[in-house]
């Protein structure tokens, strides 16, 4: 299984290493650097690199490469999934997962890694158990710790590891009992030149923040569960109940977790919330190009489209862009040729537009490719698929919890080809 782990930052420094079996020399990372050099973009480094004696499996998150060294056959997804779980845990603990955060908390990181793997095989990966073992650092606690010399390693033994519901801490207590659920849907779509949809699908997740005392047993039911085409659950969800009644029944972990992610099939027509009118042309011979972009709302069910961000990778030949937005601000990075336009809210009465010219490299011929436009947006209080939570019930505890449900629609990989 996993022999060692190296963390490598964007500039190629190994800033943390951890070994679970015999020590593997750092030099093994040279193969990784080689592959990194060969790849033009950071994300093009192959996730699996064979070397004469080891295999390197890496993931890139937050501009840090997590490189695991393995020696023998193991399902690559097993390692990749674990590495992502490590990153998620760090994020959970430190808020962000940056090189600085890891360096600041190197001892906690080390303790975490020690608990997560035993001899290279995952031991405790549930964040609830880990938090029982090692308390996440907070500003207050670090201050208290430095003054009193107490520790952030859990005093009591982690009983959660032994329980039937390993994902939940035991002895949870809150004065305010609350359970919040966020239904977040993302639209993945490719729109072609003429504005017709090539492919569109909805991916949704239900993220929960549950702060309930004791061992509550929750059930969540939907008005229209049939919409959900393909689902994957947090291990706490009782699968059989779902199969039989289409009801989510579960004993929740404590704190934040992802209850469910789902997919709404592309058979159902997906409402596309915005349209884009574009006219991007380069004339042969001249060093000028025209850029004209207008956004408008479409099928939003009366809700307003917010936090719109348009970005586009312009062709390499473009030297500069001189554009005029009707609202919001735009930036153009002449090095990466990345144009981004922060639109904000779309006002249906006055459609936002971005017009102007692009200057091209003198003498260069007209670029034959047209840029694709990526759009990000948010629509509050609406799940675009129409999914609605019917009710949430709690059993097993006597108090009355405060419940809340929020809906949101976002653009996922929303692309317009020009």
């Amino acid at each position: 299984m996993i022999h060692s782990l190296f963390l490598i930052n964007a500039s190629g420094d190994i800033f943390l290493e951890k070994h679970w079996k015999s020590v593997v020399s750092r030099s093994v990372c040279d193969y990784f650097f080689e592959a990194q050099e060969r790849a033009t973009e950071p994300e093009n480094v192959p996730p699996v690199i064979p070397t004469p004696h080891h295999y390197l499996i890496s993931v890139l998150r937050h501009r840090i490469y997590f490189v695991a060294v393995i020696q023998s056959e193991v399902p690559p997804l097993f390692v990749i999934e674990f590495l992502h779980r490590v990153v998620d845990t760090f994020q959970d603990y430190f808020g962000v997962c940056t090189e600085a955060a890891i360096k600041d908390n190197v001892v906690v990181v080390y303790e975490l890694l020690e608990e997560m793997l035993d001899n290279g095989f995952p031991l405790a990966t549930e964040s609830n158990i880990l938090k029982e073992l090692i308390k996440p650092p907070t500003i207050l606690r670090t201050m208290v710790n430095t003054i009193t010399g107490s520790t952030n390693v859990g005093e009591q033994l982690p009983t959660g590891q032994l329980s039937v519901v390993p994902w939940r801490r035991t002895g949870v207590k809150y004065t305010n009992n609350e359970a919040y659920f966020d239904v977040v849907e993302e639209i993945d779509a490719i729109i072609d030149k003429s504005g017709s949809t090539i492919t569109a699908e909805i991916q949704g997740v239900i993220d929960a923040c549950v702060k309930l005392t004791g061992m509550p047993d929750l059930t969540l039911s939907f008005m229209n569960p049939r919409l959900l085409d393909d689902v994957s659950f947090h291990p706490c969800v009782r699968f059989k109940r779902w199969e039989a009644e289409r009801i989510l029944s579960f004993i929740p972990p404590d704190g934040n977790f992802r209850l469910l992610s789902y997919h709404v099939s592309s058979q159902n027509l997906v409402a596309i919330p915005v349209y884009v009118k574009h006219n991007i042309t380069f004339r042969e011979g001249s060093s000028q190009g025209r850029f004209d972009l207008t956004l408008g709302p479409k099928q939003t069910m009366g809700k307003s489209v917010e936090s719109v961000l348009v970005s586009s990778q312009l062709p390499r030949g473009v030297l500069n862009a001189n554009l005029n937005p009707s609202q919001g601000t735009y930036t153009f990075d002449p090095v990466t040729k990345m144009l981004s336009w922060e639109v904000g809210k779309i006002n249906p009465q006055k459609l936002p537009s971005l017009k102007g010219t692009m200057s091209l490299q003198a003498g260069a011929s007209k670029p034959d490719e047209n840029p694709t436009i990526n759009i990000q947006l948010k629509i509050q209080q609406m799940a675009i698929s129409g999914l609605k939570v019917n009710r949430l019930d709690m059993y097993g505890e006597k108090y009355k919890p405060f419940k809340g449900i929020k809906y949101m629609t976002k653009a996922g990989k929303f692309q317009v080809r020009t």
Partner: protein, 1066 residues
């Protein structure tokens, strides 16, 4: 600071040391100072010291030994968590001297009370193995022991240990196979991955290929031959299941082993896991093991993974690419999910392209090509090149679009980007090779391009094309050669080689025009720096230029150079990857990784499935065991008597032979006695029915005897052969029900065919034994049923209308009962037991024979798991046709249920002749409520409204808990979930055995072993939701007792209390 007294200072020091380790700096010189803090009280310091110790112990072996005693002390700690962590650190210290200590610790921990410690022990096994491989044999013993562990916590870890230490010892899995399948869903996710991968390999060695028949069909002409061959094979393998089919019988359809089915069924829900590795593991399991028709389910889940991180996408796409080559149809509905976005990393784009290409067929090619057209405009040039190749592959695979593709590619030749042009040229070259005649204008066009294109590979391709088809372009070719000769010295090697080739070819076809040019080129090549080119030039000169010395070869030069060359086949690089287990590292790299376990081919013949039959250990209290053992002995003494009277009678299934002999053995007193003897045995058994069912007799002889009983009964009933066969069929049905429905028809068919063919006697003794082992469990319910039927008929005072079995049976069994009482006078244990078989499986009337116009239906809860759906309660129906006419098409209709309830209907009974009876099993998911299930029972003439209402005790299934588990669970179900009642026990049921008996009769629970003899504990789970049901009966003096029921579902708890109370006080 480490020597300081203050913990805070020590902690600070340790933190700095750990930070040093993390940065990869060497901190080993601090070893002595650190190691003495191993006994420090502060937990964090301790932990950090452990971290340090594990890191450096290997380098400083001697000093590390100082710390060992601390851990050894920890191993004895009463707290399981401390024991576990001590073992964990101890086993992580890589010092060879402590191997014996580790071995001892692991062995001890493997039998620890706490599953958590056992899990740690499982983790420690591979550590020790890597430290000292010589311990393998001992470790395997430990693994074997831990494999038998029933807790989910241990399962994953021990299988991991198994895979690392002894993956070849597949036989260790046999006994645990079913348990692993059943536990799988509750194991933690990492364990699931390991177990699924292991089970895939296991299943490949143990089951037959489910797609065997299809592959045979594909073989076309050979089919008949192979088919018949296979028949024999199959039969021989499955001889324990099926008889030899009559010679005329057609090839038997493949029947999936129920264990194979179990695996597929239990892994399917895991496709919904959030863990990509688990999903992938299930997907590969289905791909490698499932019948073609069922593989489709994985596509959806895999497509879902494409939403995940790009690394996950990369791996999944690799696997999808392999799958699409073999099973294209599976992913076709998801074609659009593989469309490429400009933001994807290049490696993902290329893989998606690969998948799209594999998915292309006549119907979707136009959409795919349209997509490809947009891709060609992409800024990512590597990707564009890959797209062009993909177009080339589409064109070769799908003839209809070849011309379209070619035209498109030719257009690309005028692209400004050289890379694009070059790639197009290469692809066009390959395409043209397939049909050069039609496309001389394209070749001309390309010839013109030589002036512009600089990419060597493209230039080389063009030159080759011109040379190859110089007959089609007779005017241009020499001109091109002229130009090339001019620039020869500046060309790349690969282009030079092609120039030489071109020259040679032209020389052969058109020597007039090109003789001098060729000479010139060859001369240039002669002095080239590259020896390959020099070589080639020399070789060609000798070959084509006729000299005096030139041998025979030059005559054939033309043939050599201008032979018709077969068109290249553009293949996917993923073509042959599927011989690696999907999802594995080796598959990804397309090379064998260290420690890769080859996925074995399907066996020609399935190994004996009975090896997976689990022998459950005795959980029966000592005294019962004793008595049953006594009985067994008794039996043994009687044995010769049986065999005398029945000759060589085999087990039930070869009953026809017995029935033959039965005619000669009319009901003599001997048989009467033997009958009663067996009856007493049986009732005794029934009295302990639950325990007995779990208890597995290893004693073959006894088994045999039990099996004979039904036969004896039918014998003494003076039954006809038909009767026997019916009985047998019933028996058979029972068996197949308990296994899988799919087997049913087939088995009974083969069964009957066998009884006709009277071959059974000639079967070897071995086979019989096997059969005995196989049929042992099913035989029991049958005889119970038989008996209960008869006893019920006792109450029924109506005279039987037709010459039926039952009255005789009644007579017999009543006499049996009396006999039995006589026998059992001395044995008090047996007295309450005589009535138990009927109460253990209480039968209810569904349709009375008067209202049913002669059709009489009774049902009972068979307490067997309902195999098609574990959430259902199996309801066994006994349908008797008392009318004078045949009943046809008996089936159920119009099921009215409370919400949430589900019913699995029994298969239609097509024909029930007058006077016959049949059994059918249906499954009802009562949703843990006692609501009735209403439905109509339809025959070909009439419909009857009926309803089935379950007693609460039937809504659960027994689970096995240890005493500790029981206490723990009980502790969690306190308060509202606990119901306690005081009661006075009925005079008859004051001993423990009677209590157990009544409780088990009232509810389908299993006994939990218990130290105190005043308490009886039972455990079960509700069938639908799996909520735990625990019952405790604590008896006190004077028959006073207290009943406690703990159950998550309070309604069920209350009702259960009532039922048990009733059972205990009456």
């Amino acid at each position: 600071m480490l020597d300081s007294n203050k913990d805070s200072l020590k902690l600070e020091a340790m933190k700095r040391i750990v930070a040093m380790i993390a940065r990869g700096k060497n901190a080993s010189d601090l070893f002595p100072a650190v190691v003495k803090n191993v006994a420090c009280k502060n937990i964090e310091v301790k932990k950090l010291v452990y971290v340090y110790l594990v890191r450096y112990a290997e380098e400083q072996q001697d000093l590390a030994l100082l710390s060992i005693s601390t851990f050894q002390r920890g191993l004895k700690d009463p707290n399981q968590l401390i024991r576990a962590s001590a073992l964990r650190v101890l086993s992580s210290i890589r010092v060879t001297i402590i191997v014996p200590i580790m071995m001892l610790a692991i062995k001890e921990a493997a039998s620890d009370m706490s599953p958590y410690v056992r899990k740690t022990a499982a983790h420690a096994i591979p550590k020790l193995y890597s430290l000292d491989p010589e311990q393998k044999d001992q470790l395997i013993e430990v693994i074997e022991k831990l494999l038998a562990d029933k807790t989910t916590l241990v399962a994953g870890s021990v299988v991991m240990a198994f895979e690392e230490v002894c993956p070849e010892r597949i036989e260790l899995i046999h006994k645990n196979y079913r348990k692993l399948c059943n536990l799988l869903i509750d194991v933690e996710e990492w364990g699931q991955v390991v177990i699924i991968n292991m089970l895939t390999r296991y299943a490949r060695t143990q089951f037959l290929n489910p797609n065997m028949n299809e592959s045979l069909l594909e073989e076309g002409n050979d089919k008949a031959f192979y088919g018949s061959d296979d028949d024999e094979d199959e039969e021989e393998d499955e001889k324990d299941k099926k008889a030899e089919a009559p010679a005329m019988a057609k090839r038997k359809p493949y029947v999936m082993d129920p264990d194979h089915r179990l695996l597929l069924r239990n892994t399917k829900p895991l496709l919904q896991s959030r863990n990509a590795a688990v999903v992938m593991a299930v997907a590969q399991l289905y791909f490698h093991l499932a019948p073609k028709a069922e593989v489709g389910v994985i596509a959806k889940a895999l497509v879902r993974l494409l939403r995940s991180h790009s690394e996950v996408q990369y791996v999944v796409l690799q696997n999808v690419a392999t799958m699409t080559i073999k099973r294209r149809g599976m992913f076709e509905p998801y074609l659009k999910s593989f469309y490429i976005r400009s933001t994807d990393p290049t490696q993902i784009k290329v893989l998606k392209l690969e998948v799209l290409t594999n998915l292309a067929n006549e119907t979707n090619i136009s959409t795919i090509l349209r997509e490809f057209q947009t891709y060609i405009k992409s800024m990512d040039k590597d990707f564009v090149a890959a797209t062009i190749q993909a177009i080339g592959r589409c064109a070769t695979n799908i003839g209809e679009v070849r011309d379209t593709c070619l035209n498109g590619l030719v257009q690309l030749l005028s692209n400004r980007d050289e890379l694009v042009v070059a790639e197009s040229v290469v692809v066009i070259k390959k395409l043209l090779q397939m049909q050069p005649e039609k496309h001389s204008d394209i070749i001309k066009h390309m010839a013109k391009l030589t002036d512009n294109i600089q990419v060597p590979m493209a230039r080389a391709s063009i030159l080759w094309l011109i040379g190859e088809y110089c007959e089609h372009v007779p005017k241009i070719a020499p001109d091109v050669l002229r130009k090339m000769a001019k620039s020869f010295t500046n060309e790349e090697d690969i282009v030079k080689l092609q120039i030489i080739n071109l020259a040679a070819k032209l020389y052969l076809t058109n020597s007039k025009q090109t003789k001098l040019l060729t000479q010139y080129v060859l001369n240039l090549a002669k002095y080239d720096q590259n020896y390959d080119i020099r070589d080639r030039a020399r070789f060609i000169r000798q070959l084509i230029v006729p000299t005096e010395k030139s041998g025979a070869l030059s005559k054939y030069a033309k043939k050599l150079f201008l032979a018709l060359k077969p068109a290249p086949i553009l293949e996917s690089p993923f073509k042959d990857r599927d011989h690696f287990q999907l999802g594995s590292l080796s598959h990804l790299l397309n090379a064998k990784a260290g420690g890769y376990q080859e996925l074995p081919d399907w066996p020609e013949a399935a190994p004996d499935p009975s090896v997976r039959n689990v022998e459950v250990k005795d959980s029966v209290p000592e005294w019962t065991k004793c008595s049953s053992r006594e009985k067994r002995k008794e039996k043994k003494v009687e044995k010769p008597f049986y065999s005398d009277s029945e000759g060589e009678s085999g087990p039930t299934e070869s009953a026809d032979s017995e029935s033959d002999s039965a005619s000669g053995l009319e009901s003599g007193s001997g048989i009467e006695e033997s009958g009663s003897g067996s009856e007493s045995e049986e009732s005794e058994e029934g009295s302990e029915s639950e325990e007995e069912e779990e208890e597995e007799e290893k004693d073959k002889k006894k088994k045999k005897k039990e099996l004979k009983k039904p036969v004896q009964e039918s014998e003494s009933e003076q039954s006809s052969e038909e009767e026997v066969r019916k009985h047998e069929r019933k028996n058979k049905q029972r068996k197949s029900d308990s296994e899988s429905e799919s087997d049913e028809e087939d088995d009974s068919e083969s069964e009957s065919s066998r009884s006709e063919s009277e071959d059974s006697e000639s079967e070897t003794e071995v086979k019989k034994k096997k059969k005995a082992a196989e049929s042992k469990p099913p035989s029991k319910p049958v005889k119970k049923e038989k008996k209960e039927m008869s006893l019920l008929d006792l109450d029924d005072f109506e005279p039987a209308p037709s010459p039926q079995v039952t009255p005789v049976n009644t007579f017999l069994s009543s006499s049996l009962v009396t006999d039995l009482e006589g026998l059992s006078l001395s044995d008090t244990v047996l007295s309450p037991a005589t009535t138990s078989p009927c109460s253990a499986l209480k039968s209810y009337e569904l349709l009375h024979r008067i209202t049913g116009e002669g059709l009489c239906v009774e049902y009972c809860f068979s307490r067997q798991p309902f195999s098609p759906d574990g959430n259902m309660v199996a309801v066994q129906m006994q349908v008797t046709n008392n009318s004078t006419s045949d009943t046809k098409n008996l089936h159920m209709e119009d099921v009215k249920l409370q919400s949430g309830m589900r019913v699995k209907e029994f298969p239609e009974i097509e024909l029930l002749p007058a006077g016959e009876s049949a059994t059918a099993v249906m499954g009802i998911d009562f949703c843990d409520s006692t609501q009735a299930a209403n439905f109509q029972l339809c025959t070909h003439t009439r419909k009857f409204f009926v309803s089935i209402q379950p007693p609460v005790g039937e809504l659960m299934r027994p689970v096995f808990l240890t005493e500790n588990e029981f206490k723990k669970e009980q502790g969690q179900l306190m308060g509202m979930n606990e119901i306690t009642e005081k009661l006075t026990l009925d005079a008859k049921c004051r001993n423990e055995h009677a209590i157990v008996q009544s409780v088990i009769t009232a509810a389908n629970l299993s006994r939990v072993p218990c130290g105190s003899d005043r308490e009886c504990r039972f455990a079960g789970r509700t069938v639908t939701s799996g909520s735990l049901v625990l019952a405790t009966v604590a008896s006190k003096e004077e028959g006073a007792a207290q009943l406690t029921v703990n159950c998550e579902k309070m309604v069920i708890g209350t009702m259960l209390v009532k039922d048990i109370l009733l059972a205990l006080t009456q």
